[in-house]
């Protein structure tokens, strides 16, 4: 194990800002993509459903 303590881990030998800045933004990007994807998947299904109901009327 490389790290003596949690604070040691978070500081990353003084480069904490850069390391966590990179990992954080990556995680954020992926999170945003997943959220957008979930929303658009739901939207598509609801919209198609609505269009289908119009056609049936």
């Amino acid at each position: 194990m490389e790290w003596a303590s949690w604070s040691d881990f978070w500081s990353m030998g003084g480069y904490g800002l850069y390391v966590w800045g990179s990992y954080g933004v990556t995680a954020l990007c992926i999170l945003i993509e997943i959220l957008l994807l979930r929303r658009s998947a739901g939207d598509t299904r609801r919209r198609l459903k609505r269009m289908q109901q119009w056609e049936e009327q």
Partner: protein
Amino acid sequence: MNLYTFASPVTFYHLAGKLIPWFTWSAILLTVVGLYLSFFVAPTDFQQSEAYRIIFIHVPAAWMSMFIYLVMAFWGAIGLAFNTRLSFMMARALAPTGAIFTFIALWTGAWWGKPMWGAWWVWDARLTSELILLFLYVGIIALWAAIDDIKRGDRAGALLTLIGAINIPIIYFSVKWWNTLHQGASISLTKAPSMAKIMLIGMLVMAIAAWFYTIAVALVRVRGIILERERQSEWVKEILERET
């Protein structure tokens, strides 16, 4: 024909539905393993201290950005040659994820460059090519957005992807050539002297995780596209009855 049964949207919709959980869980598992390797197993680099740990996402993201582009070009070429609708849908489903990985590669490159080179941005051959790759992704997505007609959009996007794919090696080579002439920063992450085996394994695990993630996301997206395009057909109506 056998190939065409898998290429039919109905079959693929259901197949994708079954595959998505597998790829999702594999991606999660591999990410956990990869993160463990990159933070707890890989040793401190004696030159770059802990900052080098950024490469565990930077390098896989850069690989993915180029790989996804090539896969898109492949699907585009297949679609143009054999007129298979599904391959165009795959290309469309991959593009946003490719663009995101390109952005991540650029972002992490900058955040790695700041402590190492003392500058957020250097016109290094790799970073510059990556930037141009991002432009290409944005161009393709913008072209799709501008064309309303599905068939035209599919084919136009595929042609643009193809000419980009032919151009990328030339762009990379020209930027590299330009870079050596101007004596810019040419330090390369992967050529760092202390490239230990464990680092390579860590990067590979992360790259495979990213690949599985991409497949899962693209499959979800392609299912949405299939529903949208096949909305007139009976099977889509049945699915909508069931799922909502």
